[in-house]
């Protein structure tokens, strides 16, 4: 079996780690159309091979945000996301789920993500969260 991609391991770990927020409503990139708010969206922003050493090592930046119809709900969930992710790599708080092939050594909170969205039917949505940078390293030399 081929080796797991870093981005696969990251999506898998986020799926596990965010399960306790927003009633388990968390999705990569986009939520199903009928999903009631609040819910969490996470998706790739930038990054890839870091080339900091010979072993496969990656730096991946993901946006993780809550979408809610109340500003305070979106901010409260953004705070809970932060508590679960910021500085929780295995060289830090070490609460982020481990992976069989990859280590998450550090997780750094970056830019604030904050968006207001108004639909044609009058509904409004508030997005709140951050970009998080995951420093990852394959556990064995490849």
């Amino acid at each position: 079996m081929s080796e797991t991609l870093a981005i696969e391991a990251l999506y898998r770990a986020l799926h596990v780690h965010l399960a306790g927020l927003c009633g388990g409503k968390h999705f990569p990139f986009i939520a199903p159309p009928t999903t009631p708010t609040p819910f969490i969206i996470y998706g790739f922003e930038s990054g890839g091979e870091a080339d900091r050493r010979r072993r496969d090592n990656q730096t991946l930046t993901m946006t993780v945000k809550c979408i809610a119809d109340q500003l305070e709900d979106s901010l409260m969930n953004a705070r809970q996301i932060r508590d679960l992710l910021r500085d929780q790599g295995d060289q830090e708080g070490a609460t982020f789920p481990p992976d069989a092939e990859w280590r998450f050594t550090t997780i750094s909170q970056g830019l604030l993500v904050h968006v207001y969205e108004e639909w044609e039917d009058g509904r409004v949505f508030y997005h709140a969260g951050h970009q998080y940078t995951f420093t990852m390293e394959r556990k064995t030399d490849g």
């Binding site: 900091r52 050493r53 010979r54 072993r55 060289q91 550090t106 750094s108 420093t135 030399d141």
Partner: protein
């Protein structure tokens, strides 16, 4: 012809293979200090001849929390040993540098608030004439 990949170097210091954990640029140089040999009455220009040659080497290694115990004893300043370097790996036919050297400077481990790596910066002086040089020797 392809440009040579610089991420596949072979580095062995005093019997410890550091190839998997070296980081940063490798610096290797051979120097020769010329000697003034000006002679004759009314000389208008300096004359020189070749002097003694010297070798120096430097590179950095990262602190790997899993394998650090396997190589930390190689990072003690004052150690005299054999340094072997292959910029294209240790494959037969590829360039090779080998020299008895003294590890005379060790800097680090340095830390930054920006979550950088911890690394040791190593400096070496030649203890004898190289037994293999990149210009003429191969593995």
């Amino acid at each position: 012809m392809a440009v040579v990949n610089s991420n596949n170097a072979y580095l062995n210091w005093n019997g410890t293979d550091l190839s998997a954990i070296w980081i940063g640029d490798v610096g290797v140089s051979g120097d020769n200090s010329s000697v003034e040999t000006t002679s004759g009455a009314g000389a208008t220009h300096i004359m020189r001849n070749t002097g003694l040659s010297d070798s120096s080497f430097s590179f950095s290694v990262v602190v790997d929390d899993v394998t650090f115990n396997s190589y930390k004893s190689a990072l003690v300043p004052g150690t005299k040993g054999t340094l072997i370097y292959g910029p294209e790996g240790a494959v037969t036919g590829k360039p090779k540098f080998e020299c008895s050297m003294i590890l005379n400077s060790v800097g680090g481990a340095n830390a930054t608030i920006a979550k950088g790596v911890h690394q040791y910066d190593l400096g070496f002086e030649g203890a004898a004439a190289p037994t293999a040089t990149l210009q003429v020797s191969v593995f």
